[in-house]
């Protein structure tokens, strides 16, 4: 059996989050959604660009908490898209906060960072050029040693 890693995130308002990911990132809801009689989403799955992401509502009684309850998140999703600026603009229009505006990076990506309305962070990136190690070292100077 092959190993696969799939992020499983907690959001406060899973049903709304799925709608946001559809509108902002073109997600599709790809599997059955389990909803508790009180309306809490126990499990759902979406796909973005063919990659799976599982999500559920908060379940505080078993310490399943979202960034909004935890006061931040240590993880970030890197989303590769054809036009990072357009995707960030669409996400912002749907309620995301732009943390770092889209700009050309020395490693050959045009990217920016957003926080979605549910507190999860995304780096939205477009590959714009291949950069050799030597060229990258030249661009970053003494800030990093490229090995």
């Amino acid at each position: 059996m092959n190993q696969t890693i799939t992020p499983y995130i907690t959001v406060k308002g899973a049903a709304k989050a799925i709608e946001f990911y559809k509108k902002a990132f073109g997600a599709i809801e790809s599997a059955a959604r389990y909803t508790e009689p009180n309306g809490r989403v126990g499990h759902a799955e979406i796909e973005i660009g063919g990659a799976r992401l599982m999500l559920s509502d908060e379940h505080p009684e078993i310490e399943v908490l979202s960034p909004q309850s935890l006061g931040g998140t240590p993880a970030m999703f890197h989303l590769s898209v054809p036009d990072a600026a357009a995707t960030v603009a669409r996400a912002a229009a749907e309620g995301a906060t732009v943390q770092r505006a889209v700009q050309d990076q020395p490693y050959g990506e045009r990217s920016g960072t957003i926080k979605d309305p549910f507190g999860h962070r995304w780096m939205i990136a477009t590959h714009v050029e291949d950069v050799s190690k030597a060229e990258l070292q030249k661009r970053v100077g003494d800030a990093y040693k490229i090995t």
Binding site: K22, I28, E29, A31, A32, R33, Y34, T35, E36, P37, G42
Partner: protein, 158 residues
């Protein structure tokens, strides 16, 4: 008192009228096979949905016998389907209820199944397979999730 309800939904890539039609008239094609999903031994019956407001869902066997899963109590094509839902281990007075809604969404239909009334079954009822509370709800929800996943794939292929 809780009625012990299981709610599972899925998005399918067709409009609600056609989703309703496939859900009912083609149920034998998309409903999964084998002892885990079919209703009675020898586990090779054919599921038949008799359409209409007085319709029934039943399983037919090669020896000519049938098992009636339930009778339709609401038949609103493209919107809602409600029927009783009984298993072979149920006593005459025992029943649960399945309520299926078809709602338009971008790109298709959300098919939502609400299966309720499990709390009426006694704790040692064979239909519980020794599971209770959240564990039992999760087991029932998983069975619906597998079958709705099959419905989604069937509609995507056809």
């Amino acid at each position: 008192m809780t009625t012990q309800t299981v709610i599972v939904s899925i998005e399918v890539a067709t409009e609600p009228g056609l989703a309703f039609e496939v859900f009912t008239s083609q149920i034998d094609t998309w409903w999964l096979r084998g002892p885990k999903h079919r209703f009675r031994a020898p586990w090779n019956g054919t599921l038949v949905f008799e359409p209409g407001p007085t319709g029934r869902l039943l399983e037919q066997y090669a020896d000519g016998t049938t098992f009636v899963i339930g009778r339709v109590t609401q038949w609103t094509p493209g919107q809602r389907l409600v029927l009783n839902w009984r298993l072979p281990s149920f006593a005459d007075a025992e029943s649960t209820e399945v309520d299926v809604r078809f709602e338009p969404v971008d790109g298709g239909t959300r098919v939502s199944v609400e299966h309720r009334g499990w709390s009426a079954l006694r704790a040692d009822h064979p239909a519980r397979h020794g599971q209770h509370g959240r564990d039992y709800e999760y087991m029932k929800a998983s069975l619906w999730a597998e079958n709705l996943g099959s419905l989604r794939q069937y509609i995507a292929r056809t």
